[in-house]
């Protein structure tokens, strides 16, 4: 009930109800021995003390209300944190998963489809393309005999010394069935070109025993080539593993215990184009692995640490000639 005074006809408010309550409350607090109003200090410090006193003891906010408000602030802050949590997915990189092997047309550096008949036989130049993922290089080889005539590569059973299992290599493609393709990552410890590369017939001889890296052939490799009666080979200079390009990438000498996986090529004789359509053999040697790649070439697609799928085209690059320096 507000306090009013009557002057003539009009009423004039003196104190509002809330003011009345406020004064009542203030007086009660001032008398309370716990929160007694110190009149001596008031005289000393003046109205500052009074305002501070009121603010502290009777002022708008008591402890309970303040805690309630704090609770709301903390609640909103907590809700904000909860809202940010799904956003933290930004830190998880999107994993590129190739669902299967793409069918990729092999193209040259200028983007035109590569003509199978134009691939030089026994080229010493390291010719690579990425498949099935970026970062996974493969050799593209047109194999020939000692005199440089293309050799038809027949399907062959390739064995994996590590497990004793075998798989069927489908053989060469192209106009002379002489074009093959193998992973260019050594199955021993993952060395890549130029350390691992193809040695054409004219470089498979004793002169290479003393050639500088990455062109050194070991005596074992030469012996194995002789025994297998093959004119050319794939050899890795890191630790001396040798593979048979004519025999589906089979192991000629260790230390590797697995053959090079082969890329399955498809040849379109009407257009002379080549397509990579899959892989066979063990999985591509994964970077940073303990040296035991999966037996299943498709396994590698969803766990590979390389890049994303190469898509419907992959570029063949023939840039490095390891023998040019020697």
């Amino acid at each position: 009930m507000p306090l009013k005074i009557r002057l003539g006809n009009g009423e004039k408010g003196v104190l509002k109800t809330s003011d009345l309550y406020f004064i009542q409350k203030l007086l009660r607090t001032m008398r309370n021995p716990k929160t007694r109003f110190d009149s001596r200090e008031f005289v000393e410090k003046g109205e500052d003390y009074l305002f501070n006193y009121v603010g502290k003891n009777v002022g708008g906010i008591d402890e309970g209300r303040r805690n309630f408000l704090k609770g709301i602030v903390i609640g909103v802050a907590a809700a904000t944190v909860v809202g940010i949590i799904p956003g933290l997915r930004v830190l998880v990189p999107p994993v590129e998963q190739a669902t299967g092997f793409p069918k990729s047309l092999l193209v040259d550096v200028s983007g035109n489809p590569l003509k199978a008949s134009s691939i030089p036989v026994n080229s010493p130049i390291i010719t690579l393309y990425e498949y099935p993922l970026t970062g996974e290089p493969n050799f593209l080889l047109n194999l020939g005999d000692k005199s440089g005539n293309p050799v038809s590569i027949a399907p062959v059973e390739v064995s994996v010394p590590q497990t004793g299992k075998t798989y069927k290599f489908p053989g060469g493609v192209g106009p002379n069935n002489s074009i093959v393709s193998y992973s260019a990552i050594c199955q021993h410890l993952g060395c890549t070109p130029p350390y691992i590369h193809f040695y054409p017939p004219n470089y498979v001889g004793p002169s290479q025993l003393t050639a500088p890296e990455p062109n050194t052939l070991t005596a074992q490799a030469l012996l194995a080539a002789k025994q297998a009666n093959i004119p050319a080979l794939i050899h890795c200079d890191c630790h001396g593993s040798t593979y048979d390009p004519y025999g589906g990438g089979a192991v000629l000498t260790g230390p590797t215990q697995r053959p090079l996986p082969a890329v399955i090529l498809e040849y379109d004789s009407s257009t002379d184009y080549l397509y990579a359509i899959g892989a066979i053999g063990v999985a591509t040697y994964p970077e940073g692995s303990d040296g035991v790649p999966s037996q299943d070439p498709t396994k590698d697609l969803d766990t590979s640490q390389y890049g994303s799928s190469v898509g419907s085209k992959t570029q063949v690059q023939a840039s490095t000639n390891p023998f040019s320096g020697s």
């Binding site: 406020f22 303040r66 602030v73 904000t80 809202g83 799904p86 830190l91 999107p94």
Partner: protein, 548 residues
């Protein structure tokens, strides 16, 4: 003692929260005007954090491709990328506002000269870092912006040694060096910010002109020690500002991402998405423009074919002026109307900046004759000069003097520009219509200058003890309803935040809908800021916060 109290005491003791060496703040300074620097810092911090996230994905060897990957494939990548862009926009705008506010209140005067110079350098670095960041996208616009920038440098033979230093192997589309410089410049901003911040803390915030009307405007140790310590009131107020800044930075670009088909002249300001790549056929059809914060330079390039003159007008003269300003304006007057020349130059700088930027946006690359330049730039100068001549400062002792706040002067600048534009139209096409328009804008300008004058000239208040005491005793009760209202509002906001957060968990991380996440997170930040601000109001706000 309750457990929470004990825990909070433990922390405040260990962290020394009660005697942090930060500036203590008087009650009347809890207004955003005094905290513009905090807003710039907030947007800087946001931009750094989002930039570091982007750094996890960005591949400098394939700029455009990796930008596309970030937008389309990284979870919430577009949210981070767009808000990174707008974080830097916010930083630039707020840095300008912060600078011009301090320009008009005379905060560059003794003893804050170094603080001012550091600030100007930071603005330059910010513009530089933003330019480099803008190039990193590698779209057609970025490439053309870099080409223009590189072209300007190459046309001065003495400067061409800078090209490899700045762009490195840029010709091959490799952004490695641009990225490195982008990060280096930001790191430099961070370093200068530390100096800037601690110098600002040392001098304290600039007192109201009513308290200290003359330079050096600093509080003495005794005055200073009475004020609110940093913990908890400053902290609470500051966090509300920071969260609100972040809220705007997140919400605006992600909402704009849903706008399509805007007229071309909106693009520099309102399009967070990258343009097509430079080698695509689509690139031939787009109008190239620089980022909006360099539109003014782009227009100045149309004024003259001489690059040296262009650099003088566009960069060197304004920059040198700002840097040596504390040493030219040596008077101890802080009132803007007591240093009319500098106030006038300041208003003109804002006017020219906005005017030239808009001009560059509407007519990019269109040559401008000397006559047009004179008309465009002389008229605002005349208006400002006339206006300032007739406005007189009042005696500080008897009248409350309030400076022209940046916002007021901005508004006035817009009106003045409209007036100027209509005068030009009237001269070019004298007709009844242009005359009417000029009359209208002229009267607006007249009213504007009168109201501006009023803000500065009048508003005296009785310097009488009795009514003042009455207000102090009366307000607590009238404040009470406002406080109740604030509390209700806080509860409502809490419920809203919970609803939005629940919805945020359902937003897909990539694709068209993913930008909604940014909008929602922005709204949540805004509401968090608002709740903290309301808390500050209810708990700390005093009925009367007089200037002391």
């Amino acid at each position: 003692m309750s457990l929470t109290k004990r825990v909070s005491n433990w922390f405040s003791e260990r962290l020394g929260l009660n005697d942090l060496p930060f500036f203590k703040t008087p009650d009347y300074m809890y207004h955003v005007n005094e905290w513009l620097g905090a807003l710039v810092a907030a947007s800087f911090i946001y931009t750094v954090i989002s930039g570091l996230i982007l750094l996890l994905y960005y591949n400098a060897a394939a700029g455009y491709q990796s930008t596309e990957t970030i937008i389309n494939q990284v979870p919430y990548g577009s949210v981070v990328l767009y808000s990174h862009l707008y974080g830097s926009y916010a930083m630039i705008i707020l840095a300008y506002v912060h600078m011009f506010r301090n320009y008009f209140v005379g905060a560059y005067k003794k003893p804050r000269e170094l603080l001012w110079i550091l600030g100007v350098l930071m603005l330059v670095l910010t513009l530089g870092a933003s330019f480099l960041g803008y190039s990193l996208i590698g779209d057609a616009l970025a490439v053309s912006a870099v080409d223009v920038g590189a072209g300007i440098i190459t046309s001065i033979p003495q400067l061409s040694f800078l090209i490899p230093i700045i762009f490195g192997n840029y010709d091959t589309g490799d952004y490695t060096r641009v990225l490195a410089l982008h990060i280096i410049l930001v790191a430099l901003i961070g370093l200068l910010f530390v100096f800037h911040f601690f110098l600002a803390e040392q001098y304290g915030m600039m007192p109201s002109r009513k308290v200290k009307p003359k330079a050096p405007a600093v509080y003495t140790k005794e005055e200073w020690s009475k004020f609110n310590p940093w913990w908890p009131r400053n902290f609470v107020y500051m966090s509300s500002l920071i969260f609100m800044t972040w809220g705007f930075i997140l919400a605006i670009p992600n909402a704009l991402a849903y706008l399509n088909g805007l007229p071309q002249y909106f693009d520099p300001f309102m399009n967070p998405k990258p343009a097509p790549p430079p080698n695509s056929p689509a690139a031939a059809h787009i109008t190239t423009y620089p980022p909006w914060f360099f539109l003014f330079l782009y227009k100045i390039a149309d004024f003259t074919s001489d690059v040296v003159i262009f650099l003088m007008i566009g960069v060197i003269i304004p920059l040198v002026y700002l840097i040596i300003l504390p040493f030219i304006d040596r008077s101890d007057e802080l009132h803007p109307l007591k240093r009319k020349v500098f106030t006038g130059i300041g208003i003109l700088m804002i006017t020219y900046l906005i005017q030239t930027s808009l001009w560059g946006d509407l007519a990019p690359g269109v040559e401008v004759s000397i006559k047009e330049q004179v008309i465009a730039y002389l008229i605002p100068a005349i208006i400002v000069a006339l206006g300032l001549t007739f406005i007189k400062p009042m005696d500080v002792k008897t009248k409350q003097v309030r400076g022209i706040s940046p916002l007021t002067s901005l508004l006035f600048v817009v009106v003045a520009m409209l007036f100027a534009g209509s005068v030009v139209e009237l001269i070019d096409y004298p007709s009844l219509f242009t005359f009417a328009v000029t009359l209208f804008t002229g009267s607006l300008f007249f009213i504007g200058s009168k109201t501006m004058g009023k803000v500065v000239l009048s508003k005296g208040f009785p310097n009488n003890a009795v009514p003042e005491v009455r207000t102090t005793t009366e307000t607590p009760t009238s404040n009470e309803t406002k406080r109740k209202f604030a509390e209700v509002l806080m509860s409502i906001l809490f419920i809203l935040v919970v609803i939005i957060v629940a919805q945020m968990w359902t937003i897909p991380p990539t694709g068209y809908a993913s930008n909604l996440f940014g909008v929602d997170l922005g709204l949540v930040f805004l509401m968090l800021g608002e709740v903290i601000s309301l808390y500050h109001y209810v708990v700390y706000k005093k009925p009367v916060e007089k200037e002391e």
